[in-house]
Structures are given as structure tokens and as C-alpha cells.
Symmetry: C2
Subunit: 180 residues, 2 copies
């Protein structure tokens, strides 16, 4: 990792696990600390550079390749990148780690039952009624990360303490202070 490379904080986990919620709270902290930071949200990217891609294995891989491409453009210019995307397959995460010198894997760990109970977007209900195929956790696998850099548990700890945990990691990794 070169001095100039920015970290790429990659949030992986089931739909509804709390990836974007945690990432947004962290974004706020980093912006307040004067960091240059961009949050790339998987759902939003599917409306722009990933438009037209579906949920087959190949389309999911292509989706992640494009997010990695964007992350690389930004991070190699010293910008801190946060990615919030399910990233269900091990292969994808290995690809991201290989391509991105500043890659930090954050496993947003939350049991499927809890994600399904929350069902913020109503997607689990649709998946159970088979109105959505290839839905991660139901019709498509989520391969649990074997060696994430950080694990946060959103069904146990609150957003603030999860954000603190990540800030401490960043601080240790970069030697920069974090906002208190």
C-alpha cells in the first residue's frame, strides 16, 4: 500500500444487516474530521454504472468488478472509499482484496432471521413468496467471510459502538487520529 492510497472500507453482509446504516454514520464522522471520503452504495450504483445488471452469478460478479474499478480510481488518489454492497461470494471479496491495496473487509454480521424480521425494504417477504429469485440468503448463497479485517454485530451492538470500532481500526492502520 502506497502512502497515497486511500483505505477502501468494504462492508459485506446480508440485505438488511446494517451495512449502509453503519457506513453512513461512519461517513459523517470522517467528513467531520475533514477526510476526503466517498460512499459507494450498491443499491445506488445499480441505478447508474451498474444499470442493467441482474442477479445471476455473472451479473453479480460484473457488478462487483465495476465497484472495484470505481474504488480503485478514487483510492489511488488518496480518497477514502466506503463500499456498501452484499458481496456474497468469496471470489468477489478475494478479487477486491487483490485489486485494492487499501482494502479492509468489514463483515456486517447479523443472523438471517434478524435481517428477515427487520425486512426494511420488504424484500425478504417477496423472496419467501418466490416473487424474487436469486435473493441472497434465500435463493442464493451468502458465503460467510473467513478472515474479515473487522466484524461488527448489528444485532448485539449499536451503531455508535460499531462506528467506534471501525474508527479505532482506521486509526491503528493509518496512524492518524480519529475524531473523539
Amino acid at each position: 500500500m502506497k502512502q497515497t492510497d486511500g483505505l477502501v472500507l468494504w462492508f459485506t453482509g446480508l440485505s438488511g444487516a446494517g451495512k449502509t446504516t453503519t457506513a453512513r454514520a461512519l461517513l459523517q464522522e470522517l467528513l467531520e474530521a475533514g477526510e476526503k471520503v466517498e460512499l459507494l452504495d450498491g443499491d445506488e450504483l445499480r441505478a447508474t454504472v451498474c444499470k442493467g445488471l441482474g442477479f445471476s452469478r455473472e451479473d453479480r460478479l460484473e457488478n462487483i468488478r465495476r465497484i472495484v474499478y470505481l474504488s480503485k480510481l478514487l483510492s489511488r488518489n488518496g480518497i477514502t472509499v466506503m463500499v456498501s454492497a452484499i458481496t456474497p461470494y468469496r471470489e468477489m471479496r478475494e478479487y477486491a482484496r487483490k485489486e485494492l491495496p487499501g482494502y479492509v473487509e468489514i463483515f456486517v454480521d447479523c443472523p438471517l432471521e434478524e435481517c428477515e424480521r427487520r425486512d426494511v425494504k420488504g424484500l425478504y417477504a417477496k423472496a419467501r413468496k418466490a416473487e424474487l429469485s436469486h435473493f441472497t440468503g434465500i435463493g442464493d448463497p451468502y458465503e460467510v467471510p473467513e478472515q474479515p479485517d473487522i466484524i461488527i454485530r448489528t444485532h448485539v451492538d449499536d451503531v455508535d459502538s460499531n462506528v467506534s470500532l471501525i474508527l479505532d481500526y482506521i486509526s491503528a492502520k493509518t496512524g492518524r487520529g480519529t475524531p473523539s
Copy 2:
């Protein structure tokens, strides 16, 4: 334009006009001057974030929307962006100007006959034999920019003097010195 916004030097012109050649020479100068700069090349992007898009009007517009999206991510973090893409329709360039505070339109002016004579990639020959449809300048229009910020003439001036012209513009616009 905020202090932190980077310029987006947008090279528009026919295939073979010299957009990428000029942009690469300029890139070298800017890198040597220590600038943070990224060159987004239309041809390369069609293999990554614009993969699968064709050359219909709608696909071409989508292609440009995605390049604008990338340019915005980078430039709002203070990175100078160069784009090399035909960008044949006025509507596209108006969109880019509206979306990007640091947009600078560089019309790479070269007569069709000269581009066709060069035919570096052999595409004009294919277009004339109707092996390529929707080819800009043959089967699809190039709407000449009405008010570009800079015009360079690659059939009249050499790369070095065109690069100097652009560097002078940047210097005047940003108040920063340029490499001599």
C-alpha cells in the same frame, strides 16, 4: 465551482481526431507537475463500467451519463479529470456541463477526410463498407460544438503546441502555474 472541485477537461471530436493522443501528452505534463489527475478513456470504459452498451442514441447517452458520474466522483474530491470520448451530441455535452462544475469543453477539431485518411483503427474503412453501422461521421451525426472552451486543430498544429494551449487555459482558469 467550489475551491475543491477539480477541472474536467472533456475532449470531444471524431474518432481519430487526436483526442486520446493529446490527452495522454497532457496527462504526462500534469503528472510531472505533481497534479492528481485521471484520464477516462471512452474506449477503455466500454470494457468496464460501460460494458454491454452499444451505439444507439440511448446507449450513447447512457455511456456519457456514466462517464459524467465517474467524473463527478473524482472531480468533487479535487482530482483533475480528463475525458476522451467522441461525445457526438450537443445534448450530451450540455448534460456534462450542467452536472460538472469544473467542465471545460475541448473541441478536437479535425476534418472528417483527415480522420478517415489516418484511420488508425481501421474503423472508417469498415464503416464505409457498412460493416459498422452508427459510426460517428458516417452513419451517425457529429454535432459540432458551438461554444467550446478550447479548440485545438490536430491537422494544423502539433501535439506539443496543443498541449501548451490547454496548459495556458488551465493556468489562467485556476491561477496555478503550469510546467514550463
